[in-house]
């Protein structure tokens, strides 16, 4: 019998799971369940890739093997900062979907991160639903988390109503990204509750604002946040980055680490 793909099997599982536990699509290479974390938003410019980079840094610092898929084909921003462990894919392309999902059991990475390009989150979740991967995760065969990145605008917050229900049965985290000095309508209680009461309170994280110049310097250096803080270039050589800017980045990374540890996302998913 030909080796079946996870995407194909997930589809099959969707149809059969309710009556009987489906056979494992392939013999697992390890006992641990694959862990997938999707990071996305339909609105652009809310900091999806920045949060993906911060999450990768969080995992790398904790010695959790990680790989990532950057869906900003053909170029890819995430790939620029973590080229060794990031592949650029077109998430709408079936062969690229297979590159992600059918390799979950074969990879040495404990966690797979998928950075969804702007405007494709809803569509991607629909695709994952259609091929049965969401159902597969809901049934506990994979650990799946969705970090939904929100900017402080009505357009961004309106996405909560669309996306949160799709995340039923998986770990859904609304990430409030303070990309500028504004807040999330906390000054208007009614508006704030209108949006955020749709979200389980345990599933919210705040991403603090990083100083613009510090952000630009990391961007310019093509370094991961960890390398920049450690004053290393992307290829591991000693760098001459500003001590002050490194300090700002270090503080920002620590604050995000604290938020991620507070909600226990990685612990929850990797212990599943």
């Amino acid at each position: 019998m030909e080796k079946q793909t996870r995407a194909a099997n997930a589809k099959k599982t969707t149809n059969t799971r309710r009556t009987a536990p489906a056979a494992k699509p392939t013999e697992p290479l390890r006992a641990l369940k694959p862990v997938v974390i999707i990071i996305g938003a339909d609105k652009g410019g809310v900091g999806k890739t920045t949060i993906a980079r911060a999450l990768m840094n969080h995992l790398i610092e904790r010695n959790v093997p990680v790989r990532a898929f950057d869906t900003e084909a053909p170029r890819g921003t995430l790939h620029r900062f973590h080229p060794d462990i990031t592949e650029v894919v077109d998430i709408t392309d079936v062969s690229d979907q297979m590159r992600i999902l059918d390799t979950l059991d074969d990879t040495n990475a404990r966690v797979t991160i998928i950075d969804i390009r702007a405007g494709q989150l809803d569509q991607t979740l629909q695709t994952l639903e259609d091929i049965g991967f969401l159902e597969y995760a809901r049934n506990g065969d994979a650990a799946l988390g969705l970090i939904h990145v929100l900017g402080p605008s009505v357009a961004s917050l309106d996405e909560i109503a669309d996306i949160a229900p799709r995340a039923n049965g998986i770990e859904y985290i609304a990430a409030r990204n303070f990309i500028n000095e504004s807040d999330f309508f906390e000054w208007d209680e009614k508006t704030y509750h209108h949006y955020f009461d749709q979200v389980d309170k345990s599933a919210e994280i705040d991403i603090p604002k990083l100083n613009e110049m510090a952000y630009e310097q990391v961007d310019l250096a093509n370094s991961s946040f960890g390398d920049f803080v450690a004053n290393r270039t992307a290829d591991g050589r000693d760098a001459q980055f500003s001590f002050t800017l490194r300090g700002y980045v270090r503080k920002w990374v620590r604050d995000i680490d604290t938020e991620l540890e507070r909600i226990g996302l990685v612990k929850t998913l990797t212990s599943a």
Binding site: G247, Y248, R250
Partner: protein, 247 residues
């Protein structure tokens, strides 16, 4: 043991507390008995120190990140000398919060440089509270509380901080009183303390008439009162260094 460099931060919670006068004495003291320190003046746009020590002073706005880099990066890049930082009262909290955020004090220590804070109290509860806040924000930097008795620069609200529980056990010094007539002389263009340190020649003001001998005596007496205490603080800090090295 090699002498560790110091970055002296001179601050207060309000303007006209005497920060710049004390900074001038400290700079000239270091110049006289050690070497000219690097000077940072954060009183933009019109800092007095850049006028007095133009070659060695950097005028900057610490509220802007470029200013923070111009100060903190410069010190970390050249930690082998002393620095004097005259802090505008507007940025006291921001400055120490930034030091804490970027881990400056710890990083500087690894380069052989210690931060020492001179905080000029005015005796008000707000002043004591800010000093106590700094103790919590930068616990690894020694804080020296200064009571400034110079009449022209303080409203003499003294005594409140003596009872403040969070300020017990800190190093202290008093800047002795000095009549405004002498302050006016000190503030004249071209005035330097160099000629008033022990064994200095009788001073001649570069601009305007020479300072009368009677004034010279009074300024010398005042300067000696301040510099003796700076010496005392230096010895206390050196003792702390030695004890830290042994522990």
């Amino acid at each position: 043991m090699a002498r560790r460099s110091k970055a002296y931060v001179i601050c207060s919670d309000r303007p006209r507390a005497g920060k710049t006068l004390f900074a001038r004495v400290l700079i000239e003291f270091l110049k006289r008995f050690d070497e000219m320190p690097g000077v940072f003046d954060t009183n933009v746009p019109a800092g007095d120190l850049i006028t007095l020590f133009p070659k060695d002073t950097t005028l900057l706005s610490f509220e802007r990140i470029r200013g923070q880099m111009a100060l903190l990066d410069a010190i970390i890049a050249a930690p082998g000398r002393d620095y004097v930082i005259d802090l505008s009262d507007r940025i006291t909290r921001l400055f120490f919060q930034t030091l804490d955020h970027v881990g400056f004090i710890e990083e500087a220590k690894t380069h052989g440089l210690d931060v020492v804070v001179f905080f000029i109290l005015d005796g008000s509860p707000a002043s004591a509270e800010l000093a106590e806040h700094l103790v919590g924000t930068v616990p690894k930097a020694p804080i020296v509380l200064i009571e400034n008795r110079v009449r022209s620069e303080t409203d003499k609200r003294t005594g409140v901080h003596h009872a403040h529980p969070g300020l017990q056990g800190l190093l202290r010094m008093d800047i002795p009183d000095l009549d405004p007539i002498f302050i006016n002389a000190i503030n004249r263009p071209g005035f330097t303390f160099q000629d008033f340190f022990p064994a200095g020649a009788l001073p001649l003001a570069p601009e305007g008439p020479a300072i009368p001998a009677s004034m010279t005596h009074e300024i010398r007496r005042w300067l000696e009162g301040v510099t003796c205490q700076i010496n005392q603080i230096h010895m206390e800090l050196r003792l702390e260094d030695l004890m830290t090295d042994r522990s």
